[in-house]
Symmetry: C2
């Protein structure tokens, strides 16, 4: 959508001008975030479509229309993908009881019903009686501000917790499953996701709670063998020291990695729109992926 | 101090009146928090002193003076205890590098240099070159607001992190030790401390980082065999949904346990003013305790 808007708003007056500007539009969007690979996948797709549309003699209007149409096509595909992930994942949810997620992998972060929240939504639609434990996900509070709100809107019962309550909750309550999204999945199944996901996965194993990742095939990055190669975005200190403009900590040194990597060994299954991958992920993911990217 | 202030401010005009009021003063203070046992220890001590002072014919002024003197005596003792804990614990800190704590077990939470922070302070005084990783400790942010501030005041280098970064930090940096305080320690070594401590201990073991508890003997509760018997205070939902009066989450169900219990098996040592206890804690703690409470 960002690429389509960039092309729509371009002041270019000729095909040559637009062809010169187009890589800058793509580069600007690519620079916004380093960790999530879906961003780069979508830009690549728009580049391909641009290449096909921007042939000699093509009018600028026809190219703009092609870009918008492609973006809308991606949107519709992504909606269908979320539904498919939801259907595959619903079977892994308990029939009754508590599940946990992290950050927001819902409608506010995707084009459809969400990946992790899509799984929960489809399960609830199918009659599972679930209560969702929602860690607030500091520093940006996507759990509190987005996931809690989405679930509330859908009438799905939830309990909001702070991020340091996860261990205590897993120890003292029955939690049937944990399902999270992903920003990038390496060939071996190592998964980058919002900061805090890794420690939730460690705590899940400690308490024998199955830990699932729900993500589209476009989140796979088979070009990297393991999670070590995933760049982790470090964000500004004031996300930690301030909240809605109010200072909540002294002026001290801060670490603010926005993501972390969960090793594949802690992941029970990766739920994609093509089916469920299980260890050894290197084979299982490759099989699901086959033919999709060629 | 609270009991002394209660007696100082009492409107009682006779010994009988004061004797009737005294249990109410103690009960009011005892009701403030259920988890930390040091509170009950201090109240018991003031009760004993009151009993000794409130003999037939004693003037109200003499009783008031005795209460204040006893409270000040406790204060001085506690300062010495923190120093002793610091000296025993300093040897367990790395000579160089990072250590982590949780919540505030410093001067703002104790009468002296702190328990966990006392250990860090003495180690730094002795020449250890430490950087302290400080989890902010939601929902009340004692790490960000108190511990970060104390360390900054002392010129001890620190890095503030959110609670969901602990796993990632332990995985990606060298952390030499973790040292936390305690609100109550059961006979077997199970330790109640601020929410989040339990999961830090699990993550410490996952990354082979020694996890220490620093606490005075008065924090031991040999009357309970294990941590299961420690009551966990559940606090108001708005501590999670609001921050400094600003709403940060929708109006949803919230869990807000203020403490959790770390099982003894995750604790490398318990540092007290009488020495260091190690597994099996049941014997080791009893030995340190012997003669102190009789």
């Amino acid at each position: 959508m960002g690429v389509a808007i960039g092309v729509e708003r371009s002041a270019a007056k000729s095909l040559d001008e637009l062809k010169k500007e187009f890589p800058l539009i793509c580069a600007t969007l690519a620079k916004t975030r380093p960790t999530a690979v879906d961003l780069f996948w979508a830009i690549e797709r728009m580049k391909k479509r641009f290449g096909a549309a921007a042939t000699a003699g093509a009018s600028l209007d026809s190219i703009r229309a092609a870009m918008v149409a492609e973006a809308q096509h991606v949107h519709l595909e992504k909606r269908a993908i979320d539904e498919a992930i939801g259907r595959f994942g619903a079977d892994l949810m308990p029939q009754d009881g508590s599940v946990m997620t992290q950050c927001n992998a819902g409608a506010l972060a995707t084009a459809g019903i969400g990946t992790a929240l899509g799984v929960i939504r489809v399960a609830v639609e199918q009659g599972h009686k679930l209560t969702v434990l929602v860690p607030e996900t500091r520093p940006y509070l996507q759990g509190a501000r987005l996931t809690a709100w989405e679930l509330q809107q859908d009438g799905i019962p939830l309990t909001l917790i702070t991020d340091n309550m996860v261990g205590h909750i897993l120890k003292t309550r029955q939690v049937g499953a944990i399902v999270v999204g992903a920003d990038r999945i390496a060939a071996n199944g190592d998964t980058a996701n919002k900061i805090g996901t890794y420690q939730i996965a460690v705590l899940a194993r400690e308490h024998n709670v199955p830990f699932y990742v729900a993500a589209p095939i476009s989140t796979l990055d088979l070009s990297i063998p393991s999670g070590e190669h995933i760049p982790i975005e470090e964000r500004a200190a004031d996300e930690v020291t301030h909240l809605r403009g109010v200072r909540i900590a002294p002026d001290v040194a801060v670490a603010n990695p926005a993501f972390d990597v969960t090793p594949a060994k802690l992941i029970a299954a990766i739920i994609t729109e093509r089916g469920i991958a299980r260890a050894p992920f290197i084979d299982s993911l490759r099989a699901l992926c086959a033919g999709v990217r060629g």
